[in-house]
């Protein structure tokens, strides 16, 4: 249970949040036309006759967009509707050439599902929480109006027009800005794992309509407002916080919340009214007569399922249970596709080189990946060329370290040179003298000298002062200029001191 509350003048208020996320489907072509979907092209260069709604043009569903939405539904363990249908949402606007958006109101492609947000004490999420997802439907995006190109006229760019969106509608299950933020991040992670949306909020690939209401804890839902098109996790959290406080102030001052559409202003972090329910459009939804109902067969669904990757929750569990990683390391490594992909490549490479199981080297590789390697990279800043940080080079370093040939410190130094120059780790170790001494003869000779020079301490040690063992190790390492293999030093010292 979230403990997030708004402290009003008359007591505590609970916030109720639902999110409608519009996620652009990763696909080369638009939902119903063959036009390209690449971001950032010159205005009106990616517009087919269909997108421009020329007379007599007809939509044909793009199988890949449907496939991606189905895979997304499967990833949130949702019901996939084998029979769904497209509806027209009718309204006039200059960025909507058809005069209607093809969407799915009555029979969406994906039904009830859910995702789990993880406990985060600091954020006020005491335990894992399941957030219900009501539906996912696919629909067309609109074009874009440009008001800054001409003093008196507005221009229209239809490049985005007809691009496939998934609208992912949550249940009103969230109770704090932090939960909403966690939900969005988790959803984004899942979409990126599945590869159905790049989750790039800056480019508008993911936007959220935020539904907020407030109530006394445990009472009925209040009237909600919908804040449209918020385009970052931080802004969503800000919008909720502002909107919830606005509603509480309003109610406590004797007003009532009206159901309305609001806009978020990122500069002030506030929301303002866009249109009230009375001005709401009558969209006159009806089944699109240009399109047959979408019927999915077993083979298609099977292909969708088979193509799903290991999903975030399962991967995280596997990292802990099978690889023996800490909860924290598993969480960080699985949060982003790029992170786990790099980790798993390095893990496989390292295990192969060492002839060990992945489980045996996982902790070493995880520590390297999460703290050692980033530390070196950050310290180098612009001097580092990330392209040099290949799995092969890093595994070579980890291999030398595991074999005792180099120390942890030397590993960092070698990696630093790798990042700057791209030279091979083994060659660096050799040429730059960055190797540990494991030659028992040389170490033995230094140990003999240290023990001879500290005969009194040897007596004390043998008399029971065990703590002095560290002192002998330190002296020996110092004599070896830090290049002796500590394990060998320990072993030889123990034998000598008896």
């Amino acid at each position: 249970m979230s403990t997030y509350r708004i402290q009003g003048a008359t007591g505590e208020w609970e916030v109720v949040i639902g999110l409608e996320v519009h996620a652009q489907v990763t696909s080369n072509a638009k939902l119903f036309s063959g036009a390209s979907t690449a971001f950032g092209a010159e205005p009106n260069t990616q517009v087919s006759l269909i997108d421009a709604a020329m007379p007599g043009m007809l939509p044909v569903p793009n199988r890949e967009c449907i496939r991606q939405a189905v895979r997304t539904g499967m990833a949130i363990e949702a019901e996939i509707n084998r029979w769904s249908r497209f509806d027209r949402k009718n309204y006039f606007y200059a960025d909507l050439p058809q005069g209607y958006q093809i969407s799915q109101l009555y029979h969406p492609l994906v039904g009830e599902g859910s995702l789990t947000i993880e406990a985060d004490e600091k954020a006020g999420i005491p335990q894992d929480k399941v957030v219900g997802i009501e539906r996912i439907h696919v629909e067309q995006d609109a074009g874009k109006l440009m008001h800054d190109q001409h003093p008196t006229m507005s221009y229209v760019d239809l490049n985005r027009c007809g691009v496939a969106l998934m609208e992912i509608v949550s249940r009103p299950d969230m109770r704090s800005p932090a939960e909403a933020g966690a939900y969005l991040r988790k959803l984004r992670t899942i979409l990126r794992y599945v590869g159905s949306c790049d989750g790039n909020m800056e480019e508008g690939s993911m936007r959220a309509d935020v539904n907020v209401s407030v109530r006394r804890p445990g009472e009925e839902f209040g009237t909600r407002t919908e804040t449209k098109n918020v385009n970052s996790v931080r802004f969503v959290m800000q919008a909720i916080e502002h909107e919830a406080n606005r509603q509480v102030d309003l109610i406590e001052n004797g007003g009532t919340v009206v159901q309305e559409t609001r806009l978020f202003d990122p500069n002030s972090g506030t929301t303002r009214s866009m249109r009230s329910k009375e001005d709401a459009h009558d969209y006159r939804y009806f089944p699109d007569p240009d399109l047959l109902p979408l019927e999915l067969d077993d083979a298609f669904l099977e292909e969708c399922r088979a193509s799903l990757p290991e999903l975030p929750d399962a991967k995280r569990r596997r990292y802990v249970e099978e690889l023996g990683l800490s909860d924290y390391n598993a969480a960080v490594l699985t949060a982003e596709v790029e992170t786990f992909a790099r980790f798993e490549t390095l893990l496989a490479e390292t295990a192969k080189r060492l002839g060990k199981s992945e489980k045996d080297v996982a902790t070493q590789v995880a520590n390297w990946s999460l703290s050692v390697a980033p530390g070196v990279m950050n310290a180098l800043g612009d001097e580092a060329n990330p392209a040099h940080a290949t799995a092969g080079a890093q595994a070579a370093i980890l291999q030398m370290q595991a074999a005792g040939e180099i120390s942890g410190g030397q590993a960092k130094e070698i990696f630093e040179i790798v990042l700057k120059t791209g030279r091979a780790p083994a060659e660096i170790a050799e040429t730059e003298g960055l190797k540990q001494q494991s030659d028992t003869g040389a170490i033995q000779a230094e140990i003999d000298k240290v023990l001879a020079a500290n005969a009194d301490k040897v007596e004390e040690y043998r008399g029971g002062k065990d703590k002095l063992f560290g002192f002998f190790v330190g002296q020996t390492m110092k004599a070896m200029q830090g290049k002796a293999n500590p394990a060998v030093v320990n072993e030889l010292l123990k034998a000598k001191l008896g």
Partner: protein, 494 residues
């Protein structure tokens, strides 16, 4: 030599192939007939060069010994609802006046691929909305037919494919394309004494055809014989991946399989089509039709299509609903007419453009469609109409247990005079009463001429078939054609 404009599709195709005359001679003869027929107002634009170029290609292909297409050397009229590349395509509206597409509709392209050429773009009811060709922005089409008493009242050629019916009946074109949403091929065919078939929904691609009501719109041929319709439909039809509702089936060889032998076939006579107020001469033509089909070997059986009376109201909800949405794209933003009063904002521009660009009947249907889809009315009207549509389709399904093809009148009356019904939209809508059920059910249906009435005007008989069974419809039509011996044609006055 027979006058070339008297020849039908088959005769022209075979004559060109045999070398009896050249395709160029045929095109020139028809271009001349087009040029002389201005009074009918059947064309919005004429395209003599298109017809000549297609003919020259056919003649040179023939000279080179190449295989000729199924419509080789046949010049046709193209209803101005089909997008034709580089040729103005208006849907007979002001809002699309001077709109010249950069693309060719699938159906017209199929016809050009088969060797046909285009005489011009034919007038029609605006956006195919009308039953008399009186809603065109470019003026009424006048039927070539006249009352035999010499009365010179201009008659309606039917609609919406009124330009098509007029030119085919008047021997200006051997054939023309039509489109049928609720009778727009069959009713004008009946009014002008020609044949016209609306195939099963999905046979002909809708890609590039200006949409009226997407779930009903179907293209089809209009010509002077059943054989000619079979030939031309075969050329027009075919699966088109650009139209999601297109039937993914091979096109049958309708022409090769034509047969007027109906032995073993059952012809259903729907009792609900015997409506009060139906012209006695229409009923007489129906009786003759039964006799002709019996004579061809068929058994005639009474059937019931109990929901027939709900078809027209349902149609006039569904078609306007779809139209209100389909016509939203004509907004003055990207192409066609734009009316931009001084100081106008976007909404003002929409309002001014659409007020100026659409005719009264189009506006009426947009308003009806908008109303029936509105919140609070949707269930009572649109959903209810869809349920009726399902029941009508089921009526036909049940009927097929008893018969193979249905015989009915095409229209409740013969052609009326222009202006007769323009003040009474409901009377006008009633013209489609026999045509609409087959449209709602998506079934193939054809009108063939049966006889002249006492005024000397043609009456048509309608044949409705099972889904995908155009052959059954064409065969029954052929049996009627052979027995009706209909060879009347309008006397030239234009």
């Amino acid at each position: 030599m027979t006058e070339l404009t008297e020849l039908g599709v088959k005769a022209i195709r075979d004559g060109v192939a045999a070398g009896d005359f050249t395709a160029l001679e045929v095109a020139e003869a028809h271009n001349a007939a087009v040029a002389a027929a201005g009074e009918l107002n059947a064309f919005i634009v004429t395209t003599p060069d298109h017809a000549l170029a297609a003919a020259e290609k056919v003649d040179s292909d023939r000279a080179a010994g190449k295989a000729l297409g199924a419509m080789a050397g046949v010049p046709i009229g193209m209803k101005d609802l089909f997008a034709t590349q580089g040729v103005q395509t208006t849907a007979a509206s002001h809002i699309l006046e001077r709109f010249t597409p950069e693309y060719e509709s699938t159906v017209s392209q199929n016809l050009w691929n088969a060797g046909a050429g285009m005489l011009g773009k034919l007038n029609l009811d605006q956006f195919a909305m009308g039953s008399s060709n009186e809603t065109s922005y470019f003026g009424n089409v006048v039927s070539p037919w006249r009352h035999k008493d010499g009365g010179n009242a201009d008659l309606a050629p039917g609609g919406s494919s009124g330009g098509s019916s007029a030119v085919v009946a008047a021997r200006i074109a051997p054939a023309a394309t039509g489109t049928d949403t609720g009778g727009s091929i069959r009713q004008p065919a009946a009014f002008t004494g020609i044949c016209g078939i609306k195939p099963t929904y999905g046979r002909c691609s809708r890609w590039g055809v200006v949409a009226f009501a997407s779930s009903l719109d179907q293209a089809g041929p209009m010509a002077r014989s059943v054989e000619d319709c079979a030939i031309m439909l075969e050329a027009m039809a075919g699966f088109d991946p650009k139209d999601s509702t297109s039937l993914d089936l091979p096109v049958p060889e309708w022409e090769a399989n034509l047969s007027a032998d109906l032995r073993g076939k059952k012809v259903g006579i729907p009792r609900e089509y015997r409506m009060e107020g139906t012209d006695p001469e229409i009923l007489e033509s129906w009786e003759r039709g039964k006799e002709w089909l019996r004579d061809a070997g068929a058994e005639v059986v009474d059937i019931s299509l109990p929901h027939t009376k709900y078809a027209l109201p349902a149609y006039y909800i569904i078609a306007p609903a779809e139209a209100s949405s389909n016509l939203a794209r004509y907004d003055g933003v990207r192409y066609g007419l734009r009316e931009l009063p001084d100081g106008a904002g976007l909404q003002d521009m929409y309002a001014a453009t659409r007020a100026e660009g659409f005719g009264d009947e189009v506006k009426r249907r947009i308003l009806i469609g908008t109303y029936v889809l509105s919140a609070g009315f949707y269930d009572a009207y649109y959903n209810q109409a869809q349920r009726v549509r399902t029941l009508i389709a089921r009526d036909f399904e049940k009927a097929w247990a008893q018969c193979d093809v249905i015989l009915a009148p095409t229209t409740p009356t013969a052609a009326f005079a222009l202006g007769d019904k323009t003040d009474d939209p409901l009377a006008m809508y009633l013209n489609d009463v026999f045509a609409v059920p087959a449209s709602l059910a998506g079934l193939p249906a054809m009108s063939v001429p049966a006889m002249l009435n006492g005024d000397g005007l043609p009456l048509g008989l309608q044949l409705i078939g099972k889904a995908f069974d155009e052959q059954g419809v064409l065969n029954a039509g052929l049996a009627i054609q052979q027995r009706a011996g209909f060879d009347a044609k309008p006397e030239k006055w234009w």
